[in-house]
Structure formats: C-alpha cells, structure tokens
C-alpha cells in the first residue's frame, strides 16, 4: 500500500491503468472523462488530489474508435486540472510517446501511409495481401480500396520523381518571384489552392507540390508535444522505449525512459529453444544499437538489414532495396524493433530473412501499434511469432492474429517505476535487471 499516490487513467488504455493500480494496491482515481456534444473534452476529477502525487496514465494510441489527438488533449486537460486542483506533483505516464516518430517526407512510396477512415478494413477476405505488399498510396485514378497490390505504386512514384525533377530543374533565380501561372510550371492542374482539407479524399494530397525552387518539408512535432506537456503542468514524464532518445532533451522536466528490453530478453531466454544459436536482427540501421544491446546481453550473434535507398544492381542477394549484413542460414532469427506501425519494414525484413534461409522468424517489438493494414500484412508475412508489449491496447490485435501474437505485460514495470519515483528511490535498476 502506498500513500498519497493518485493514479489517474485516460481513456486510451483502461486495462493497463487497472493492472497498474492492482499492483500498487490502490483504486484508480474517480473521474469523468467524456466529450461534450460539441466535441470538446469534458473532464471532472472526483477524488481529491490536494497535496497528492498524481500519475496520469495515457498512451499515445488512437484506435478502437478513439482518436489519438483526443487522447493527447485529454491528457493535457487532466494534467492542468490536477495542477489547478493543488496536486503536489503531476507525472505524465506515456507508455507510448505520441508523435515520437515523424518521417520527414510524407508521400514516398515507402512512406507512412495516410489515415483512411476505416471503411473497408473489416472485410478481411481480401486475398491480395502478401508480404511484399507496400502500403498503398492512393492517388488520382487509384481506387482507395485498392488493397496492397504493388502494381499501382511504381506508376505513382515515377510520377512523383518526374514532378520532383521538373521542380528541381527550375532554378529559383530564374523565377520572376511571382506566382507561376497555371499551365506554365507543372501545369496539369487548374485549381488555385494547394491546401487540402479533406479527411476522406486523398487525391489532393498526391497532387500537392511545393512552390518551384522550394523543397517541401514536414513539421516535426516532437518538441511541440514536449512543450505542451510542460505547459499543461507536467512535472515529470515516464515513458518507454522512445524512438529517438533525444526526445528526452526536448523537455525541461525529468524524463524517465524505461526499457522494454529486459522483458524481451527474458522472453527469449524462456521461450526460444536453443536461443544461444539464434541471431538477433535489426531491421534497419537506426535500430542497430537497440538490437546489439540485446545480442550482447544474451551473448548471441547479430545481423543487420540495411535499407538501400537507391538500388544499384539487381542481384539475387538483393531484395528490392534491402540487404542483409550477416549470416542467418538455418538459424532462428529474432527481429528487434521499437515500433511496429504499418509493419512494412518488419514484414519485408522477414521476407528477406526467409529468403536467406532462416528457419524460424520471431519479431519482437515494444510498441505494437498495427495501424492501417498492418494486421493483414503481418498475417501474410513470413513472421512466425510476433511479440509485443501492452504499451498500447492489444486486445483487438490479439483477436485478429491469434496465437501468432504474444503480448508481454509491462504494467509491473510501470507500477514499480511509479512506486520508486514516488518514494524518491533510484529507478536505474529498472534499466538493467535481468
């Protein structure tokens, strides 16, 4: 029993809140958290928080009919409500940190696919998912429910590269400085506005072009999210397996970045037979450090998949744009990554490993977001077993993937972190226990 702690849960992950509260042996804080009919969040905290140490659990995941941005605003409102309610300290517990990973270019063929309202995802009878599938890039003339056939993509991407070429060759110096008239420069379009607002119709998105001579860029929201949490009144942030550890530096308040690594390690040691002969694989160069840490900890071999940005030569060893560095023939492979979003990287990596002679492929991911078509893509992939943590709700994913999905419980780690932070004990032991 711990005194003076209040654990307040958002709507994003009630199951985690409950099990953290169970471990800490205290009831979750009573609150009302709904929406007014206008769409504004309504929050009322019914238990006293005066002088208390408040922990607000809200994960960065929108699914099951809820929206990510709603959850984030709810979190800020709850923090602010506790702060104005004279809480002694407010800690935001974000198992999955929202906006922790934002790609720089949005519409590459391998880029993050865009949000479609889930209209056609339920009929899981579509057979055209293979593990070669690339997130569909709906464009003009491409039906939105086209599935994941590769056929559409090269056409569209070549169009983009042509557009980019056309833009690149226009020197900004030669421009007169005023708006290029329609029809002069890339003039296959006659609308005056280049802003798209349509949640549903994405054709605008693919017709979007930057002004000639200007390289379009995507806003990185990481710092903003950090600043917003601090401005709402968070005194401390606890999160897990940040995609970029640098995000910690965006905050002026302490950030505890917990690791899912010990859990994954324990799983390997307990459930993978002859794990000493297995190979740990990082599906991209960015995750190499994460994967080597596990490989070193277990004393087993390591290999890396290298994403070739521009395919040089089509050889047999080369799978589209991915290259394997290391040997996996007749071995059990364990792919390690921090985030599974659309599942594109990891399923393609799995395919490559199979091709290179891997016997069994495990994929271990801390945050299993499974957005877009990820479930179907994973189903069709060469991955034999996928292991995630419940940093985001996994019930639906578990239902869809059945025995192929293994969910590790992180509530004990968070409960222990909350207990230690509350008592002012060191939490570094959580970083490296075995």
């Amino acid at each position: 029993m711990v005194r003076n702690i209040v654990v307040l849960g958002g709507n994003s992950h009630p199951a985690l809140v409950e099990s953290v509260c169970n471990i800490l042996a205290l009831p979750p804080c009573q609150r009302i958290l709904t929406k007014f009919s206008s769409g504004e969040s309504r929050c009322e905290i019914q238990d006293s928080v005066r002088g208390k140490d408040v922990y607000i659990i809200q994960t960065g995941f929108g699914g099951n009919g809820s929206r990510l941005n709603d959850h984030f605003m709810d979190l800020c409102i709850m923090i602010s409500a506790c702060k104005t309610g004279s809480a002694r300290r407010v800690t935001a517990v974000l198992p999955l940190f929202p906006y922790s990973r934002q790609p720089d270019l949005p519409y590459k063929k391998s880029g993050a696919p865009l949000y479609n309202k889930p209209a056609s995802t339920d009929n899981g009878s579509r057979k055209d998912y293979t593990f070669e599938s690339v997130p569909v890039t709906p464009g003009p003339g491409v039906p939105r429910s086209a599935g994941l056939t590769n056929g559409n993509v090269p056409d569209l991407s070549s169009r983009f590269s042509r557009a980019a070429l056309a833009n690149g060759s226009t020197s900004p110096v030669k421009q007169n400085g005023d708006h290029p008239a329609n029809g002069v420069n890339g003039g296959h379009r006659s609308t005056g506005s280049y802003t798209t607002h349509d949640y549903e119709n994405l054709t605008h998105a693919y017709a979007f072009e930057a002004k000639p001579g200007y390289k379009q860029w995507v806003a990185q929201a990481g710092t903003l999210i950090a600043n917003l949490l601090t401005c709402a009144g968070a005194d401390h942030v606890i999160t897990m397996d940040l995609h970029d550890p640098q995000v910690q530096g965006f905050f002026d308040v302490p950030v505890d970045n917990l690791y899912g690594r010990p859990l994954l390690k324990r799983y390997i040691q307990t459930y993978i037979r002859n794990y000493k002969d297995a190979v740990i694989i990082s599906p991209d160069a960015g995750g190499a450090k994460r994967a080597t840490a596990i490989a070193d900890g277990l004393g087993i071999e390591f290999a890396l998949i290298h994403k070739e940005r521009r395919p040089t030569k089509i050889t047999d060893r080369q799978n589209a744009s991915m290259m394997l560095v290391g040997n996996v023939a007749d071995r059990v492979c364990i792919l390690i990554d921090d985030l599974l979003d659309t599942g594109n990287t990891i399923t393609r990596a799995a395919k490559l490993l199979k091709k290179e002679g891997a016997t069994t492929i495990y994929a271990m991911v801390t945050h299993g977001v499974f957005s877009g078509d990820a479930i179907n893509r994973v189903k069709a992939s060469a991955i034999d077993k996928i292991i995630v943590t419940n940093s985001v709700p996994q019930d639906e994913h578990k239902q869809a993937l059945g025995d192929r999905l293994e969910v590790l419980d992180i509530s004990a780690i968070f409960a222990e972190a909350i207990r230690r932070v509350h008592h002012g004990e060191s939490i570094s032991v959580l970083f490296n226990y075995d």
Partner: protein, 323 residues
C-alpha cells in the same frame, strides 16, 4: 519603404474551415499558402509546408469543426510550431470560434480551466497574436500574454436586422442572464426594447425551466446569443416567447456549433429562422435545415488581418462591418 517592411501576408489554412480561408484570401486578393495537413495511419497529424514563410507575416486560419475540436486544435498547434521553426516573423492564429471557451472558470473542485490551457498551449506553440470572434467571455483575453483581438459579429447583426426588419417592431431578447450585455448593446444601437429569459440549468446540455422578463406581445422577438450548440435553450426560449405573444421569433447567433440533434430540434421548433455567421464550418447543415441563414463574417476577419499586417487600428471594426 525599407527592405525590412517588405514582408507579406501569408495566409495558411487548416483543414477545419477552408471555405472561410478561401473567402478571406479572395477578399485580401492573395493566394492561400501551399501547405497540406494529413493524418497518418497511426492518426498522428502531419503538416507539410510547400513555400517559404521566412520573415513573413503568417496568419493561420483554423476554426474548430463540431465534433473534431481536439483534432483541429492539435493541427493548429502543429501549424503554429512549424511556422515558428521556419522563421516566420510573426504568427497570428485566426481562430474564429475559440475552442473550450466555455470552460473558462473553476466552477467545481478540480474542474479544468481548459480555456486557459488552450491559451497557454497556443503561446507555447509560438503564436504571437490571436484574432478571434465573439469570445464567450471576453476575460479569456486575460489568459493570454500576447495581444488578442476579439472581433464582434454585432455590426453584421445590426446590418442584418436593419435590412430585414423594421427595428421598431422588434424586441431583442437575451436567452440567459449571461448574454444580457450582448443583447442590450444591440437593443441600444437599434433603439428597441429589450427582454430577458431567465433559465435554470441542472446539467450541461440539458435545459431547465424558463421565465420571461419583459414584454414581447405582437413584436418580432430576436434572440441574441454567442453560440448555438444543441439549440435546446434557443428552442425552449422561442417557445416561451411564442407563449408570451410574440408575433415571430428568430435567433441571431455568432457561432453555429449545432451539435447533436440541433438540426432536428431546430426543424421542429417555432423559431422562424436561425441566423449564424460562418465562424464554424456548417457542412451540409444549411441544406438540412431550411431555417438556417448564414452571414458571411470573412470581410470583418480579412479587414482585421489587413489592418493588423499594416499596423493600423482594428477598433473601427468593433462598430462597423465592412461590406
């Protein structure tokens, strides 16, 4: 003019109300900047900038669509922060319908003052200036430490009444005590009578008993308010006015949020017309509700943007509506 002054207005539109932004752009004779906002499949909002905003005077127009308030707000914050990192000289958030304006006080223990949170968030993101229309409580301006221009729809309403009715036949009615000031101001300008409805509100979005104070017999009763949400209040007030002998009842409301069953409620009511401004995107509501009329507020906003950019006074707009 020095080279320093050569910066231009950059008008950036969010996804919530492109129509209003388009009208403002037209009015200002400029193009909406090339930007695009999207949601990724993991629902994170992404904002792409397609032209330089370096050292420009940036105006970001973002209303909050009914039901999508948080989505619109996050998008706005990301847009502001993007422009800030892109070295914009000044960033003005044009928020015709300020979100969370009704959660402006701690009316219960541990109730959030969300309006202040929104104010802080906007400043944290990097807004240097706020332009809004008919704040629910003008004290919200005090939540900001940057300038806030609170424009009024009142001049547009006055013109509407003068053009459509004989002011002598009208009574201006406030549907609640909080709006009395707004209603009396209109009544004074038109030199007409004024009445007030007192109501009890047991729970949010639920309307209690109503009592009329004043005389509306054989008059056109014009209800004046700052926002129409579920329209429960307005419709009940209209019924009370009708019972008290009003010839006709219509309502002038700045923000037509019209959430929930508002349209059905309106269609079945004794209200002759609900006149709103286009601060909130109305979507297909105009088609669904024949009683709904829309006043275009974009000239006022456009003029405020022009004056702000040129460093002129905006107070003219508090009493006059540009045609």
């Amino acid at each position: 003019m020095s080279a320093e002054m050569a910066n231009e207005i950059k008008l950036i539109s969010g996804r919530s109300h492109p129509d209003l932004c388009e009208k403002i752009a037209k009015r200002l004779g400029i193009q909406v900047a090339r930007t695009i906002s999207l949601n990724y499949s993991n629902q994170e909002t992404s904002f792409t900038v397609g032209e330089s905003v370096r050292d420009e005077d940036v105006f970001i127009v973002q209303s909050t669509a009914t039901g999508d308030v948080n989505e619109g707000l996050m998008e706005l914050l990301i847009m502001i922060s993007a422009c800030r990192t892109a070295s914009a000289r000044r960033i003005t958030a044009v928020i015709p319908n300020f979100p969370y304006a009704r959660q402006d006080k701690k009316d219960k223990s541990r109730a959030p003052i969300s309006a202040r949170l929104v104010a802080n968030m906007l400043q944290t993101a990097g807004a240097n200036h706020i332009v809004t229309v008919d704040l629910h409580a003008s004290q919200i301006q005090g939540f900001f430490s940057v300038p806030v221009d609170n424009l009024y729809a009142e001049p547009s309403f006055l013109r509407y009444i003068r053009e459509n009715f004989n002011p002598e036949d009208c009574v201006i009615v406030s549907p609640d005590a909080g709006g009395a000031k707004r209603a009396t101001s209109i009544a004074d300008h038109l030199n007409t009578a004024f009445a007030l409805i007192h109501k009890e509100r047991p729970r949010p979005n639920v309307v209690g008993r109503m009592v009329l104070v004043g005389n509306v017999v054989d008059k056109v009763a014009i209800l004046v308010d700052d926002m129409a949400d579920t329209c429960g209040t307005l419709v009940k007030a209209a019924a009370v006015l009708k019972e008290n002998g009003a010839k006709a009842v219509l309502a002038l409301v700045t923000h037509g949020i019209l959430s929930g069953n508002a349209i059905e409620t309106l269609n079945g009511s004794v209200l002759e017309a609900l006149v709103v401004t286009n601060t909130v995107p109305l979507g297909d509501k105009v088609e669904r509700c024949p009683k709904l009329r829309v006043i275009d507020i974009s000239p006022t906003i456009a003029e405020a943007i022009r004056r702000t950019h040129n460093g002129e006074s905006v107070s003219y707009l508090f009493t006059h509506a540009p045609v």
